[in-house]
Amino acid sequence: MTQLAEKPNPISEKKVMTLAAALTDGMDIALERDEKVVMYGEDVGVMGGVFRVTTGLQGKHGKHRVFDTPLTEEGILGTAVGMCAVGWKPVVELQFGGFLYAGLDQVISHVSRYRYRSRGRWNTPMVIRFPYGGGLNLLEQHHDSPETYLTHTPGIKVVFPTTPYDAKGLMLAAIEDPDPVVIFENIKLYRSVKEEVPTGYYTVPLGKARKVMDGSDVTLITWGAMVTQCEAAAKAALEAGISCDVLDLRTLVPLDLEAILESVEKTGRVVIVHEANLTSGFGGEIAALIAEKALFSLEAPILRVAGFDTMHSPFNPINHFHRPEPAYIADAIRKVLEA
């Protein structure tokens, strides 16, 4: 069985939504369509989450479908495993990506392995979602980008929506997917991007990258809020006559390797951009795959623009040096062209 195909909804009306609103809308529809879907976490009920992404869902669907729980990430993730064994489809929220760590054992040792361990008797078709990423000057651990801990953990799918359309379609696809899926919701993008989104049901398939800009000189590969940064850098480059292929991966697992290789074969020059710290970041995996599968297309070293190997800087006045800015990406573009 392969990935679900895209299910567009051509007849649906459209409405302008932020990324946050699109996520909410997707969850709302999922609660409507499948009575097995339940949502829980810290503050997701009455308050609708610290970023208000579950706003209105408890009121509309009831406390038995959307509810607050004791404050424990290992509890939230561990009970979700048990909930699946009784046939529920939990969509759980962690308050920030930096609090995934507190429940990471349940993800690595159980969410990821339960199906393999029971040879298909017990599946874990849950969705784990959380805000992540820098740029808002919140507290420490509120800006982490912990995707590598998940991409290295077998059996987990990893999703990064960057547009409202994708956010809703990927949310619905993630909830429908029979495997555990983690959705990284970028805190900067929650309310900074807006677009028309169909009000009805549709899905965006897991495993298909989105071509943000089409170009032939350099390939920019990225995900999450760095898509915006890459787009800015690519636009600036375009003014200087350099055209970039900008790939929004949308999902890291499954990875759209085909789209990556196709672009690399075209441009021969690659810059990979992510917010997480550099070493052992998912950028390394992508570079390794390119160095294995498209080596002879490369005309320049593969460069990565990423966070430093420290925790995400809590130093507000200077943390823009830590988080990749368009200028740093532009510099990398220049370097791969000069190589």
Binding site: G75, G78, D177
Partner: protein, 350 residues
Amino acid sequence: MAEMFQILAPDGTVNKPELVPAFDKIEAMYRQMVRTRYLDDRFMVLAKKNQMGTYAQFGGQEASQVGSVMALQPGDYIAPMYRSTGACIAYGWDLHLVIMYWRGHPEGWRIPPHLNMLPIIIDIAAQFPHAAGVAMGLKMAGKKNVVMSWIGEGGTSQGDFHAGVNWAAATESPAIFVIENNGWAISVPRAVQSKADFLMRRAEGYGIPGYLVDGNDLLAVHHIASKAAEHARAGNGASLIEQITYRMRPHTTGDDPKAYRTDAETQDWIDNRDPIDRIRKFLILEKQWDAEREVALKTEVEKEFAEALEKADTYTKPDPAALLEYAMVNPAPHLIEQQQVLADRIRMVK
């Protein structure tokens, strides 16, 4: 000082006659105890001969495991740990699959569809949040079922012990959490784990009933487990039970207890507090059991084991394809690529 709940004294005489259940029920449990003890020892022999992998015996804990699990009803769930093999067998796990599980045969790892048995958990205490989730899920589904899970006294020091019990308690979910206090966490004695006199003291901090039970008294274990199961089934939520028992065997295949405890201590439990002896004495005193039936039971169990072993031994050899099965329902492309790598590796080794 909490009092340890007991129905049978170690010599098999009855403390609380009014609490003795029907004899056919006791006999059924006694049979499971004899059966699991026999199997447990045979498994260790297999492991020592490298015909099984590392194995964790439960010998000495038969009353604790059989007595608790047999308080369950159809549709109830269990969330076992590595030492719960006795409970799993009494719950109905097919014997040849048990052997194959401990051999690392993929088909032994496949949990049969007729059992609401969660996978055996090695990661100490992680089964408690799972059990809490099952309990919450059962309650939300309006089911009248419950879940039972076990943990060692060592495991009670883990964060997941707390997260799991507190969750089920707070959500008033139908879970029975059983601490099998067998005195040792490998080489570490009970006293290192906690300053509390008894671990069931934790129950009050979760606002749920807590019980201290003689874990080598089958009737006591069964009585309290049944009570907790009824409590849960009636919609009153979780319970925490501490069963005082003893691991009469090494920790696992590779362990030599001489390194950390005296033979005298172990021998004392074996001679004076063996859970099987106690209930057998009771049944004999009550004229519900005799040497003849004992011999017949032994023969029956030996035969059953021989058949299961034969079945396991002659089972289709593991298919290497199993390595990549069940990794994902919708496998990502890299997993499909790895199926090719696996095929290549199989070719190379041949």
